[in-house]
Amino acid sequence: MSHLTDLPVWAAIPVCLLLLGGSAITLVGSIGLIRLKTFYGRLHAPTLSSSAGTILICLASMIAFAVLQNRWIFHEVLIVLFVILTTPVTLMLLGQSALYRDRIEGSTDVPRKTTGPEPDLSAIDI
């Protein structure tokens, strides 16, 4: 705690604003997880925290550490790159598997497979 208070005012203000903005966006994304009604709607909510929230909070910690310890800490760059690269892959796979499960159950609110044979129901032993 003692180190943090050494931060000069010109650096403290952007750090605080970035932190508050990032955490507020994260909270909005997670509220979306509760309030949106369908699964496919909820699929959009975590992208808020993974794109905007992560970038803002990582920027805040980069500024804070660059001013406090007088060296650039690049771990944040790694975290941002990693989260931005991996979240789409997770959500894509999750969306695909949800679509697959809904089709197997014969749900009517998902689009049918465009052409080709129907999904082969006999091979599934779940």
């Binding site: 403290a12 994304g29 804070a64």
Partner: protein
């Protein structure tokens, strides 16, 4: 004045991220289906990583970044494995 401001803003942002984690936890508990729970778990991972980052700023200690990086990695791998399991019924084909 300055110290008070920055300490309070870090505290407020930690509380906000904590509330976000509670929302994700609600989705995990509530369901209604398996894919909803996995989505909630993924959001919980990302929020936990952000919470660790704010702890890192608060204590000015860079050891928190290592754990944040590890949480990001493990969260990605586990969500992929869960999604794969939902689709095929097994993880490694």
């Amino acid at each position: 004045m300055n110290e008070l401001f920055i300490i309070w803003s870090i505290l407020v942002s930690q509380i906000l991220i904590g509330l976000a984690m509670a929302c994700a936890l609600f989705r995990i508990v509530r369901g209604p289906r398996a894919q909803d729970r996995i989505l909630g778990l993924d959001a919980l991972y990302i929020n936990a990583m952000l919470l660790l980052l704010t702890f890192g700023i608060r204590t000015a200690n860079s050891i928190y970044f290592e754990s944040a990086l590890i949480i990001a990695l493990l969260g990605f791998v586990s969500s992929i494995a869960f999604a794969k399991f939902l689709m095929r019924g097994e993880v490694i084909e």
